[in-house]
C-alpha cells in the first residue's frame, strides 16, 4: 500500500568557464570531467530506464551556466578533442598493463567508458542538453532552473534587483532552451532569504527547496516538519530537505560513498605514472592533473590501496540501494502513522556526487530506481509539481533564512577569505540599477549592447563558486581573477556608458569572451 513519496533532486551546476582566448585552459576541465563522469553516465542511465519502461521520477536542476557551456560549440569541439585524447591514453593503458591482470581489465573498463561517452556525445549531436530536453518531454524527468549564474541570494539582500535579474534571466533562458516555462527553481546553494519567494512568484515559479532548518525554523511552526511542503505568503511552495536520507549518501560513517570497495577518487594515473609517459595527457604546461583513470579502491584508512574490483563494487551499490530503500520504508511507515497523511521525503544531491566523486553513484541510483519500481509499493517517486497537484492544500509559513552550506547559513560565502568581494558586487549592482533607470528603453545599437554586456559581467561576477573556491582553497587565484575581471569589465562599461564614450572594439572583445546569455535583457535588473 502506498504510504508516501520520494522526491529525488539532482542539482547540476558548474560555473561558466570558457576561454576562447587560450588554446587550452585548465579550469575548463571541470566541464569535461563532469561530462564524462556524471552527465553522460546519468544520460545513459535515464535512457536505459526509459528503454526498460521503468516507472520513475527525477527532478533535475540544470543551471543556466552549465546549459550554456554544454550548448557552446567551442567547448563542444574542445570536449571532442579531450575525449579523443582520453581514448588514446586508455588504449595505451590497455597495452601497458598487459602483464598486470588486476589493472588490465580496469584499463578496458575506462576505454569502454570513454568510447561510450564519445558515442553518446555524438548521438546527441554534441548537445547534451537535448538529451535532458527529450527526457523531460517524455514526462518522467522534471527539469528546473536555478539562478542565472548561481549567485547566492541571501548575500544580495541589499541589492534585490540583482536577485530579480538572476531569476528572470534564468527563466527566459530556460524557456528558450526547453520550449516551456520552468515550474520550479533550485535556489543557488539552497540559499533562501525570506521575501525572495516574491521574486520567484513574479517569474512564474511555483516551488523551490530549502535545507531542513529553512522549513523547521520557519514561522509559524510547520505542522508536518519537512515531510510536507509549505506555502510562503506569496503562494510559492517550499520543500524542505530531509537530512536523514541525505546523510546516508553524503556521510562516509553512516553513508555509502566511503565504502572500502568503492573506487578511490584521489588515486589517478595522472599522478601515479611516469612523467614522460603521461605528459601528453596532462596540462600542456607540464602540470600533472587528473585524467579520470583511477585503478584503486578506497581500501581503508591507509595509503596502501588495493586494486579496484568493479564486480564487488557493483554488489555493494546494489546492497546500498536496498539499504536506502529499507530505511525509507521504516521512515515512511512511522511518518504515515504519525502524520495521518502521506509524507514526502525530499532528497536533493549535487549531481556531480554521482559518477564523478562517487564513481558507483549512478549505478546506485539506477538500482534504487528499479527496486522502487519493481520490488515494493509503499513509496512512489514523485516530482514537486506532481505532488502539488495531488496535494494542493498546505500550511502557510515564512521559511527561515538558510542554506545547505557548511553550518547552514552564509558563512561559507562570507568569511575572512572572501568577504572583500561584497563591497564591489553590491556597488556594481547599485550601478546596474542606476543604468536601468537612466536608460529604461534602449531598443538597439551599441548602447543596448553595452548595457546588456554590463549585466552579463555583473551576473558572472556574482557566481557563488568564486567565493566558495576562495574559501576552500583550490584554484583560489582563478576565482579571485574571475571576480576582479568581471567587476573591472563592468566598471569600465559603466563609465563608458555614462560618459557616452563606448569603445566599440573592446566591447566586441568582451562580448566574444563572456558570451553567455545572447538574448539577455538588461532591463530585468530592477
Amino acid at each position: 500500500m502506498e504510504k508516501g513519496y520520494l522526491c529525488i533532486v539532482l542539482h547540476s551546476h558548474l560555473p561558466f568557464v570558457r576561454h576562447p582566448e587560450h588554446e587550452d585552459f585548465l579550469e575548463e576541465d571541470w566541464l569535461y570531467e563532469g561530462i564524462t563522469e556524471t552527465y553522460i553516465p546519468l544520460i545513459r542511465m535515464i535512457e536505459r530506464l526509459y528503454a526498460d519502461n521503468v516507472n520513475f521520477r527525477l527532478t533535475m536542476s540544470l543551471t543556466p551556466t552549465l546549459i550554456s557551456m554544454l550548448k557552446d560549440t567551442l567547448l563542444q569541439e574542445r570536449y571532442n578533442k579531450h575525449i579523443n585524447k582520453l581514448i588514446e591514453l586508455a588504449h595505451k593503458e590497455v597495452e601497458r598493463t598487459r602483464w598486470q591482470p588486476e589493472f588490465n581489465h580496469l584499463a578496458h573498463m575506462y576505454l569502454n567508458n570513454f568510447y561510450e561517452a564519445r558515442n553518446t556525445f555524438e548521438r546527441y549531436n554534441r548537445d547534451l542538453v537535448n538529451a535532458f530536453k527529450n527526457f523531460q518531454d517524455q514526462g518522467k524527468i522534471e527539469i528546473i532552473t536555478c539562478g542565472a549564474t548561481h549567485g547566492y541570494f541571501p548575500l544580495m539582500d541589499v541589492v534585490k534587483p540583482s536577485v530579480r535579474a538572476q531569476v528572470k534571466t534564468a527563466v527566459s533562458h530556460y524557456e528558450k532552451v526547453f520550449g516551456r516555462r520552468p515550474k520550479g527553481i533550485w535556489l543557488p546553494e539552497c540559499g533562501y532569504n525570506p521575501g525572495d519567494d516574491e521574486i520567484l512568484k513574479e517569474a512564474g515559479l511555483r516551488y523551490f527547496f530549502t535545507d531542513a532548518h529553512g522549513v523547521l525554523h520557519g514561522s509559524p511552526r510547520p505542522k508536518y516538519g519537512v515531510f510536507a511542503p509549505v506555502y510562503c505568503k506569496s503562494g510559492v511552495a517550499c520543500f524542505g530537505r530531509d537530512l536523514e536520507s541525505s546523510k546516508q549518501v553524503w556521510s562516509s560513517i553512516e553513508g555509502y560513498p566511503g565504502d572500502y570497495y568503492y573506487r578511490e577518487f584521489y588515486r589517478d594515473i595522472g599522478f601515479d605514472l611516469d612523467y614522460d609517459y603521461i605528459k601528453p595527457y596532462i596540462h600542456p604546461d607540464g602540470i600533472r592533473i587528473n585524467t579520470g583513470i583511477k585503478y584503486y579502491r578506497v581500501t581503508g584508512p591507509t595509503n596502501d590501496k588495493q586494486p579496484y574490483n568493479p564486480e564487488l563494487a557493483r554488489q555493494k551499490a546494489a546492497e546500498h540501494a536496498g539499504n536506502f530503500m529499507f530505511n525509507r520504508h521504516r521512515q515512511i511507515e512511522f511518518l504515515y502513522d504519525a502524520l495521518g497523511k502521506k509524507p514526502i521525503i525530499t532528497a536533493p544531491y549535487d549531481a556531480e556526487l554521482f559518477g564523478h566523486w562517487w564513481y558507483e553513484g549512478v549505478m546506485w541510483l539506477d538500482f534504487l530506481i528499479r527496486k522502487l519500481a519493481f520490488n515494493q509499493d509503499m513509496i512512489r517517486m514523485i516530482t514537486p509539481s506532481e505532488y502539488l497537484l495531488e496535494n494542493p492544500r498546505n500550511q502557510v509559513i515564512t521559511p527561515s533564512l538558510s542554506s545547505w552550506g557548511w553550518k547552514g547559513y552564509s558563512e561559507v560565502w562570507l568569511q575572512g577569505s572572501n568577504d572583500w568581494i561584497y563591497r564591489h558586487l553590491h556597488q556594481a549592482s547599485s550601478q546596474m540599477t542606476e543604468l536601468v533607470r537612466l536608460f529604461p528603453n534602449v531598443e538597439d545599437g551599441l548602447l543596448k549592447r553595452a548595457l546588456n554586456q554590463a549585466l552579463r559581467e555583473l551576473l558572472l561576477a556574482q557566481s557563488s563558486d568564486w567565493a566558495f573556491i576562495m574559501a576552500t582553497g583550490t584554484h583560489v587565484n582563478y576565482a579571485i581573477k574571475r571576480t576582479k575581471e568581471h567587476i573591472l569589465r563592468f566598471q569600465r562599461l559603466y563609465q563608458e556608458i555614462k560618459s557616452n564614450s563606448l569603445d566599440k572594439d573592446w566591447l566586441a572583445d568582451i562580448e566574444y569572451k563572456d558570451n553567455i546569455f545572447p538574448d539577455i535583457d538588461y532591463r530585468v535588473h530592477q
Binding site: 597495452e95 602483464w99 589493472f103 523547521l216 511552526r221 504519525a338 500550511q395 557548511w406 558563512e411 583550490t474
Partner: protein, 326 residues
Amino acid sequence: MGIWKKIKNKLRQKKGSLSKSIFIKSKKRTKELKSGMGFKMEEAGVRVEESKFYTGPEAAITQKQPMPWELPAGYGKDEIIVQARDPWWLHAYWELTPSTLERLSYQLKDAFQSAKRTLRVYDVSFIIFDGRNAHRFFDIDIGNDANNWYIDTQAPGRSWCVDLGLKLADGRFITIKRSNVVTTPLDGPSWLTDEEWMIPDDLFARLYGMSIGVGSSPVGIKKLWEERLKREFASGVLASPGFSPVKKIKERGFWLVVNTELIVYGATEPDAKVTVQGRPITLRSDGTFTLRFALPDGKQVIPVKAVSKDGLEERSITPIVTKETK
C-alpha cells in the same frame, strides 16, 4: 537551562572565530581525508562540491594567473552595509571618504583626535527605527584602520541596524552613517504555532529530530539543533585552505614509491606484420615500434615475430625478462 545557555555561548564563540584554531584542526584531519574515509556529513558535502573543482594537487596552485588591474579601494562614498551571516553574527563593511573625515575634524576640532571610531549596534526588532527607539544597543571600538567587522549579536531572530560613528571622550556619539536593517534567522523552531495546523510538542520534537538527522527521540528541540551543530564542530571542518590537496600530500610524511616498466622497441621493414606475444602491433611509418609495459615481479617471455609483406620471410626474437623486488 543554564547549561544550555553555556553550551550555546561556547558554540557561538567557536562560530565567531573564523579562525586559526579551526583552520589548524582541519589541517590535522587532512591525512585522514586523503585516505578517502573518515569524513563526516558536512565535510562530505563540502568535499563533493569541492571535488568538482579538483583537477589535482598541484595544478591550481602552480598555475600562474596574471591578475588584472586591482579593484578600487573605495567608490568615493560614505556607506555602511550590514549582512547577516547566521543567527548570531553580522558582517558590516563600510567606506568613509577623506572629505567626510576632514569635515568632522574641522567641526570637532580637538575632540576629533581623541574620538574613537565606533560601531553602535541597535536592536530594532519589530519596530520602525527612528534613531531613538531601539530596544537596546551596544558599541564596538573598531580602530581607525578596519573597514569591515564581524559582529556577535548574541541574539538570534532579531533585527539590527548599525551606526558607524565617532565616540567622543565625553561620551557623546556622533553618527556618520547609518546602515541598512537586517534580520537574523532563529536558531531553533518558532514559538508561533497556528491553530489550524496545530501539532503536539512531543510529535514535533520527534519530526524535528528525524528531519535534521539526529534521531527521533523526543527530547528537547533546542537540544537537538545544538546536537547537530556540535556534530559539525566535532568534525572540525571549515571550508578552509586546510582542504587544499597540496597539504594533503605533504601531510603524508616521508614516503617512497618504486615501479618498473619495460620498454620493448625495434624495427623491421615498414610493410611487415609484427606481433608481440601473439598480438599484432602497429608500426610507425619508418618501420620502428615501441611498446611499454608495466613490469610485475616474475618472468616475462616476450616473443616478437615479424613476417614480410609477401609472407615468405619470418624473423623471431624472444627477450626474456625476470624481475624481482627485494
